[in-house]
């Protein structure tokens, strides 16, 4: 039997869950189909960075839109998502890197964006007292912060379900087809039909797009993270390095999350990853050099989440260039978590209103395919 709904969202990551929620808020009745459970992959196991800092220019408007939602996340979800805002700091380790920071901030200012601010050595030391003396400055985005990714993704799913979304976890969306003006998708023993289909399937979204005739240059990656035992409080903001692959965040309970984009080997069809300890050792060595306070900490756990990375490192976001009623929302390329709340809101506007005031034009799938619509 076919169940008719207003929209079918495939993928229970933060993007699928956020879009589902915002469709509910707009008065639609969507279904969310997730093959595992909400937040099982990248959305639930990423570093939780809520970051506008150092974004690609085409996605900055979406990031700023999202930031406004993050700051009132409790009003939206009845859950604080453990969001905290102590800023994110990019550290330049030498004058050459600082010069690049200066140029970056000037470029953003020229475009009218003011969220990134150049800082000197004194301000860097004030924000990150533990950083090595030799670092000459950096960039700060003061409204940035971090949240608990699994808690956040789960909260979006829960709120969407409360507002009437049908949520199907543990069943894969299959047999996607379009007939008589409706998208039909099988999920376990059920079939759903709707005029709108949102492809938010993360690492699995590229296959869906390709099957529907819109292949894109995307690969599956698994960025690694590791977390330490509790150490005395020494840092508030999230820290990232300009010149090396390292990001760094201390939680309230004292544990420190170390990331930065070194990759594990993904085994997508098994939901598994195999870690590359030699790369993680590089991260450990960097932390060891820059933050002596961390030297006695132990590594408690390391992991990697499976996600989609575009060749040009910016997401595919917006309507299909081939099919009516199909929308893509994937390929966030290791920096999609912060965008989730805003992207869901904008996607709902595209679906319900046919447009949005948030500038997203450079993110469309038509950058790979001339529109045939």
């Amino acid at each position: 039997m076919t169940v008719n709904v207003d929209a079918i969202v495939i993928g229970g990551g933060i993007h699928g869950c956020s879009t589902t929620l915002h469709l509910c808020l707009a008065g639609l009745k969507p279904v969310l189909i997730e093959k595992d459970y909400a937040g099982r992959h990248a959305s639930g196991v990423n570093a939780g960075g809520v970051r506008q800092l150092m974004r690609h220019i085409p996605e900055i408007p979406l990031s700023i839109r999202s930031m406004g939602i993050w700051e009132k996340i409790n009003d939206l979800l009845d859950d604080d998502c453990s969001f905290e805002s102590y800023g994110q700091v990019l550290v330049a380790e030498n004058e050459e890197e600082l010069a690049a920071c200066r140029a970056r901030v000037a470029e953003l200012n020229a475009l009218g964006f003011t969220h990134e601010e150049l800082i000197d050595a004194a301000e860097l030391r004030r924000l990150v007292p533990a950083v090595a003396e030799t670092c000459p400055g950096g960039v700060v985005s003061r409204r940035d912060g971090a949240a608990n990714p699994a808690q956040t993704t789960t909260a979006f799913r829960r709120k969407a379900a409360q507002l009437g979304a049908a949520v199907r976890e543990g069943v894969a969306a299959s047999n996607i087809r379009y007939s008589d003006g409706l998208w039909h998708v099988d999920a376990g023993t059920e079939t759903f039909a709707a005029p709108v289909l949102v492809n938010a399937a993360g690492a699995w979204a590229g296959r869906i797009a390709a099957d529907l005739g819109e292949p894109v240059p995307v690969e599956t990656v698994a960025p690694m993270l590791m977390i330490t035992s509790r150490v005395p409080h020494f840092i508030d903001p999230v820290v990232i390095l300009r010149g090396r692959k390292l990001s760094f965040k201390q939680f309230k309970n004292g544990t420190v999350l170390i990331g930065g984009g070194h990759l594990a080997t993904p085994y997508q069809d098994r939901n598994e990853t195999v870690l590359d300890w030699k790369s993680l050792a590089t991260s450990a060595q960097t932390v060891f050099e820059l933050f002596p306070v961390m030297r006695s900490a132990t590594i408690v756990r390391a992991w990697a989440g499976i996600e989609a990375k575009m060749k040009d490192d910016i997401p595919v976001f917006g309507p299909s260039s081939r099919h009516r009623g199909l929308y893509h929302q994937f390929g966030f390329s290791l920096h999609g978590f912060q965008l989730g709340p805003g992207a869901g809101a904008v996607m709902a506007e595209l679906i319900v209103n046919g447009g949005t005031q948030t500038r997203i034009g450079d993110l469309g799938i038509d950058r790979f395919h001339p529109s045939t619509l």
Binding site: R40, R244, T282, F288, T298, I299, V300
Partner: protein
């Protein structure tokens, strides 16, 4: 003194030097395969033969004849060409059979053609009210002190729980002159009837006569209360008393030490982190790896022997170790395998060693109230999460142990669920009216045991990484 592995590649790497690992490594090395034995302890033996080469307990009767069997296994291993490294903590194993091991504060990486996991068992969590009060410890911890250092309790001591090891420990403590004030036996009355159909096999098993005489020996010296249905420890910063209900009557007794034990379960962390498929065992109430008749797991090249393959006891562990090693020899040096005892003979040995196991499993199946706590009783010690906290999280949408991490951080502390995993699975299964198999278990991650940042930082990097750091 620390000794790094001599090679980067081995035919067989055996992890754990308990009965299964000792037998496996001796068989594999004896057949000419390059064999590395990695073991976390300071000497061979695992838990059952702990300190077999170094124990200060010299009177053979005190630890029992079964203990000294270990000496022969160690002898066989030493006579082989196996490379043996103790104080070697394997902290990562993946499906490519890449192994990361910490030895003397430095990490080394080796690769194997076959890995035999012999990581043994852990004590089942015993989450009663007050089980985290200092002065409450597991029977296994007490036995470790007894075997390694001949230390036995001298304060007011209560032993509570059930199972063969509980009686063995009690007998060993008494023989070494230790003090036991009372034994609280939690074996459910109904278990005796349930186990009856399996009694015949047990009567003919080697465990029967030994078990019976040990219980008789203990009961002659210590007051044993059977049919205990409730148990709680209390004390402010230190154990002061133990209260229990037996036959509907509550009693509270002063105590300085409470030793808890309700059986052992496979130590699955390394196998699970390597991606080995496990299933819930409804009889033994734990996760066991899915294995074929030779001990091969779902990950090609990884075999599991000993209690890590499902609780079978020391005798079965030795045979399983030989079977897994023989299978490795068959795969890597088929010509040599013909000289080893035939697989059929080994499987017959295993059947004999496992006789009576169903009886023990049924008789000593822990009662629900000792496995599934309620209210303010702590479930996860690392993050101090109570049973009520878990149920509250289920109520707002946590569907399994991995989702629960997001709500309560259970299993995210240094023990990675060793002390709470089974409790969380069963508690959530009960709350959601699902089977433990449906609820699942924590996804486990390397490092399976924590390593220091300094140790990881010192690991040799790939050439490109070294350049990147130099440039920065």
């Amino acid at each position: 003194m620390s000794v790094a592995p001599k090679r980067e590649d081995y035919d067989v790497v055996v992890i754990g030097a308990g009965p299964a690992g000792l037998a496996a490594a001796a068989t594999s090395a004896g057949a000419g395969l390059t064999t590395l034995m990695l073991d976390e302890n300071i000497g061979p033996g695992g838990q059952v033969f702990r300190a077999i080469s170094s124990t200060p307990v010299t009177d053979r009767n005190q630890l029992g004849a079964d203990y000294w069997v270990g000496a022969d296994l160690v002898q066989a291993l030493r006579a082989s060409n196996a490379e043996v490294i103790h104080r070697a903590t394997v902290w990562s194993l993946d499906r490519n059979l890449d192994i990361a091991v910490s030895i003397g504060g430095a990490s080394a990486f080796v690769r194997a053609k076959r890995v035999i996991l012999a990581t043994g068992a852990l004590e089942r969590p015993f989450p009663i009210p007050g089980w985290t009060v200092p002065g409450v410890m597991t029977a296994g911890a007490a036995q470790t002190m007894l075997k390694s250092s001949a230390l036995v309790p001298d304060g007011r001591t209560v032993i509570a729980g059930q199972g063969p090891l509980l009686w063995l420990l009690a007998a060993q403590i008494l023989r070494l002159g230790g003090r036991i004030d009372r034994i609280l036996d939690t074996t459910g009355r109904g278990n005796y009837f349930a186990a009856l159909p399996h009694a015949f096999a047990f009567l003919t098993s080697p465990y029967f006569a030994k078990g019976l005489s040990m219980m008789r020996e203990v009961k002659a010296k210590v007051q044993v209360v059977s049919g205990v249905t409730e148990l709680a420890a209390a004390g402010d910063g230190q154990l002061a008393s133990v209260s229990y209900v037996a036959g509907g009557k509550r009693e509270t007794i002063p105590a300085d030490l409470l030793l808890l034990h309700q059986g052992v379960v496979p130590n699955v962390n390394l196998a699970m982190a390597a991606g080995v498929e496990h299933r819930w065992d409804d009889l033994q109430l734990c996760w066991s790896p899915v294995l074929d008749a030779s001990g091969n797991s779902s990950v090609a090249g990884i075999a599991i022997a000993g209690d890590g393959a499902g609780i079978g006891g020391a005798n079965a562990a030795v045979v399983r170790g030989r079977i897994a090693a023989r299978a490795a020899v068959e795969a890597l040096a088929p010509a040599v395998a013909a000289k080893l005892p035939a697989m059929a003979a080994l499987r017959a040995d295993l059947a004999k060693a496992e006789r009576g196991r169903v009886f023990l499993d049924t008789l000593f199946r822990p009662a629900p109230q000792f496995r599934i706590p309620s209210g303010d009783t702590i479930v996860c010690r690392c993050e101090e999460v109570t049973a009520k906290d878990v149920l509250d999280s289920v109520a707002i949408g946590a569907t399994g142990p991995n989702q629960l991490k997001a709500y309560r951080r259970t299993g995210m502390g240094p023990c990675q669920g060793r002390l709470c995993g089974l409790t969380v699975t069963e508690l959530m299964a009960q709350a959601r009216a699902k089977t433990p198999q449906e609820i699942g278990y924590y996804r486990l991650r390397a490092p399976v045991k924590p390593i220091t940042l300094a140790e990881l930082a010192a690991v040799p990097k790939s050439e490109a990484d070294v350049k990147a750091v130099v440039r920065g």
